[in-house]
């Protein structure tokens, strides 16, 4: 699948939500939702679109880009990437979360592979993750040249702010890649941590 995830900062959320939902109305797997309190660098609107392949995106992109040029849009981070979620076709869960990150450009490939393996291990330990996807970014815009998107469906907001944060797999193992005090530190730019509620009809697009 070809994925486009966009985090939009705006002072006029409701009209922008309506316009974006209208613009992506033909996309079968589209999530356009207000972000929830607690995001960090995550914007006011999260838009996650999935296409069978990248040929379907340009037609939608024209309409989306026109909306995002509006003065009410103050900042946009966006990533395009391929991949499919790991988990059931219709995962339980009421929250979709996307983490945008940039691995430092001087990081050796074998180190990136270990980092990716560590991220991919997290869902085995955090029971509130119902599906997930880790992808390398093909095209990025925004405050960093994002290299990865790590997304999950969570059972609920509590599953994100509780078990995900508090399990030792996170703070005692994976976080060293993000910690400037650790020698393994490779994610040096500020990340985007964004999440929103998911409508029950939104399927397996972690």
């Amino acid at each position: 699948m070809f994925n486009v995830t966009t985090l939009i900062h705006t002072d006029e959320r409701e009209p922008l939500l309506a316009a974006l939902r209208d613009a992506v109305g033909e996309v079968p797997d589209a999530l356009v939702a207000p972000t929830l309190p607690g995001v960090r660098n995550g914007g006011d609107i999260l838009m996650h679109l999935r296409f069978a392949d990248d040929q379907e995106w340009p037609g939608v992109q024209t309409r989306v880009d026109e909306i995002l040029l509006a003065p009410a849009v103050t900042h946009v981070d966006s990533a395009r990437y391929r991949g499919d979620p790991v988990g059931p076709d219709e995962p339980r869960g009421s929250v979709y979360r996307a983490l945008f990150l940039r691995v430092s450009a001087d990081t050796p490939e074998d180190v990136i592979a270990r980092f990716e393996a560590d991220l991919a291990a997290m869902p085995r330990y955090v029971s509130t993750i119902t599906s997930w996807q880790l992808s390398r970014v093909e095209t990025a815009t925004g405050s960093s040249a994002w290299t990865h998107v790590f997304s999950q469906h969570f059972t609920d907001v509590g599953g994100l702010t509780g078990p995900y944060l508090m399990h030792p797999i996170h703070w005692a193992y994976v976080d060293r890649w993000f910690d400037p005090e650790c020698p393994d530190y490779i994610v040096r730019d500020r990340v985007c941590h964004s999440f929103c509620a998911v409508a029950p009809s939104h399927g397996g697009s972690a």
């Binding site: 944060l165 508090m166 399990h167 703070w171 193992y173 400037p180 005090e181």
Partner: protein, 114 residues
């Protein structure tokens, strides 16, 4: 509630640099770490000789009362560019180092049951 969690700096110092590293760590790094909520447990030097021509291994252990306290500590420190700069400034004293996070064996099951 599970017991404390431990932050362990294991630093292999360059020959002749162990005492200088420990002095700098205690004088320059430790005060800010305490302000971020960490309590210093141990500063161990192995072998316990201030070698001139061989490496020493310095193991420094801090404790925090809970994973939540660990997050609060790191959230305070992460935006502070002086922390990374401090480690960069002592790099000439260090051969290699690790930072790990640990807990008592008896607390592992409870920590993982979240």
């Amino acid at each position: 509630m599970a017991g404390p969690v431990y932050v362990i700096d294991r630093v292999v110092t360059r020959p002749g640099c162990a005492r200088k590293f420990v002095d700098a760590y205690l004088a320059e790094y430790a005060p800010g770490a305490r302000e971020r909520g960490m309590a210093l447990c141990d500063v161990l030097v192995s072998p316990p000789i201030w070698f001139d021509e061989q490496v020493n291994t310095v193991t420094i252990t801090w404790s925090l009362p809970s994973p939540q306290a660990w997050w609060e500590m790191t959230w305070q420190g992460r935006p502070d560019p002086t922390l990374g700069a401090w480690w960069a400034g002592v790099a000439t004293l260090i051969d290699e180092r690790t930072r790990s996070v640990a807990a008592a064996a008896g607390d592992v099951d409870e920590l993982c049951d979240v």
